[in-house]
């Protein structure tokens, strides 16, 4: 049989009909086989890919790429004239489209509840503009909103001290929650029966902020 194949190959070779690699696609697998029998065939896939399945029965190879892409499949076979090579490109479909996450809910509805709102500032932050914001949060519509909803607002100097003259532990804890955020800043946390829960939002106050914009931030957290 082998002799026959060799003879056949030689015949083809002599006829100038060198074998070609024929690629047949079956689903995601490709079957690569020479158009004519070859002897001592070996397969090489480039670039090397451990996930690239090759089933070789000596006559053909089943190539099953695990992902989209292109590879060179090299068939090396022996003839009397020496070692020959055939190269074919195997491509599996189009590249997988990028995974697109579900679009975010344009207006996520946070869980409604009471909030602890803390504004931390440095002493020198107090300007006429910021002072008006603070007073508006304490009197008028913004204050009424906070009161009606049961929210708790504290406006604290970041270096506040307690009765013992040491830094107020509560203020220190809030300052740590800033995580490097510049002051003046507002932090909004869950209000729990035990006190304060998870911080839901925090941001630095800007010159454009007013009582209404701070209330809006509270509302966005469900407050």
């Amino acid at each position: 049989m082998r002799a026959f194949l060799l003879w056949l190959a030689l015949c083809i070779s002599c006829l100038g009909a060198e074998p070609e690699l024929v690629v047949t696609q079956f689903g995601t697998a490709s079957v690569v086989a020479p158009s004519a029998p070859v002897e001592k065939a070996g397969w090489l896939v480039l670039p090397a890919d451990p996930s690239f399945l090759v089933i070789d029965d000596g006559k053909r190879a089943v190539l099953a790429p695990s992902k989209a892409g292109s590879w060179w499949v090299i068939l090396a076979y022996q003839t009397e004239a020496g070692q020959q090579f055939l190269v074919v490109t195997v491509t599996r479909g189009k590249p997988d489209p990028p995974v697109v996450p579900d679009p975010p809910d344009p207006d996520p509805q946070p869980e409604a509840g009471k909030r602890v709102v803390v504004i931390l500032h440095e002493t020198e932050d107090i300007t006429a503009d910021l002072a008006r914001v603070f007073t508006a949060l304490r009197a008028g519509p913004a204050a009424s909103y906070l009161k009606d909803k049961g929210h708790l607002l504290s406006i604290l100097d970041d270096d506040s001290v307690g009765p013992d003259g040491k830094p107020s532990p509560g203020v220190v804890a809030w300052r740590e929650q800033l995580g490097g955020l510049a002051m003046p800043a507002v932090l909004i946390a869950e209000k729990t029966t035990a006190g304060t829960g998870k911080v839901l939002a925090k941001r630095t106050l800007t010159n454009g902020d007013n009582a209404a914009s701070i209330i809006e931030s509270v509302k966005k957290t469900g407050g």
Binding site: I126, A131, A136
Partner: protein, 263 residues
């Protein structure tokens, strides 16, 4: 609707002419060791004052909105301790909210800075004492529930201190303040909505808000004479106005209170 300027008696009030008056401000100290507002906070240019005051008015008011009680010193010369207590309550209202303010007992401060019911005191002494030992809560049902016997009435120089009063008073101490020595410094402090305790005409009051009328500057203050003055901030009375002339005399030695103890 009546305005603050409707009754001229409450503009540049001549305090000694009023029946409520008991001389209580004993003047400015010859020496002091406190930091000056003018050396610490950049003065807001005078040209900007009217615009900033108009913004305060447009938003419904300034620090007077943080007043939670009109106090009444009655016939004791304790105005300094009343003005100091009022300033502390204003700052407390900003920190914790109007509803959460602990009402304070001015007499608990005056007992330490005055020598008799009518001796009066110096504003500087009031500041030093409220910063070092603090002020006790007022005797109210809420404060009794919260502080037990660590409370005192509003007036009554001879009322004894409760036991261990210092522990409770330490919760109501001034932490940051600056001495005001000029009109520029005083108005800057008011535009930044820091209450300013001043003394003038032998009486001490708490300035809260700069106000303009017909291009003229005034400082609104909260007095400690009960139902005296014009109404504002939800109160039927309690407030007065000082023109720039009076502000100038009051700014000789005053202090702006910026923060208090956080319990």
């Amino acid at each position: 609707m009546p305005t603050k300027f409707d009754n001229p008696a409450f503009v540049d009030a001549d305090f000694p002419r009023w029946s409520e008056y008991t001389r209580g401000d004993n003047g400015a100290p010859a020496f002091h060791r406190f930091a000056a507002f003018e050396d610490t906070v950049p003065a807001i240019p005078k040209a900007d004052w009217p615009d900033l005051a108009a913004k305060i008015e447009a938003e419904g008011g300034g620090a007077e909105l943080l007043v939670t009680r009109i106090m009444n010193q009655r016939n004791e010369g304790s105005c300094v301790s009343f003005a100091c207590s009022q300033a502390m309550q204003v700052v407390l209202a900003r920190q914790v909210g109007r509803d959460a303010v602990t009402q304070l007992s001015p007499i608990s401060l005056y007992k330490r800075i005055g020598s008799s019911p009518s001796s009066g005191a110096m504003v500087s002494d009031g500041l030093e004492e409220m910063a070092s030992r603090g002020i006790l809560p007022l005797d109210t049902p809420e404060n009794r529930a919260k502080f037990g016997n660590g409370i005192m009435p509003e007036t009554g120089f001879h009322t004894p201190f409760p036991p261990d009063w210092q522990v409770t008073a330490a919760k109501f101490k001034a932490v940051e303040w600056l001495i005001v020595r000029s009109v520029d410094g005083l108005v800057t402090a008011l535009l930044n909505q820091h209450p300013v305790v001043v003394g003038r005409s032998g009486h001490s009051i708490c300035y809260t808000t700069p106000v303009y009328k017909d291009g003229q500057l005034y400082a609104q203050y909260v007095n400690s004479w009960g139902s005296w003055g014009f109404g504002d901030a939800g109160f039927p009375d309690g407030f007065g106005l000082d023109s720039e002339r009076m502000i100038r005399s009051a700014s000789n030695w005053a202090f702006a209170l910026r923060s208090v103890v956080v319990s």
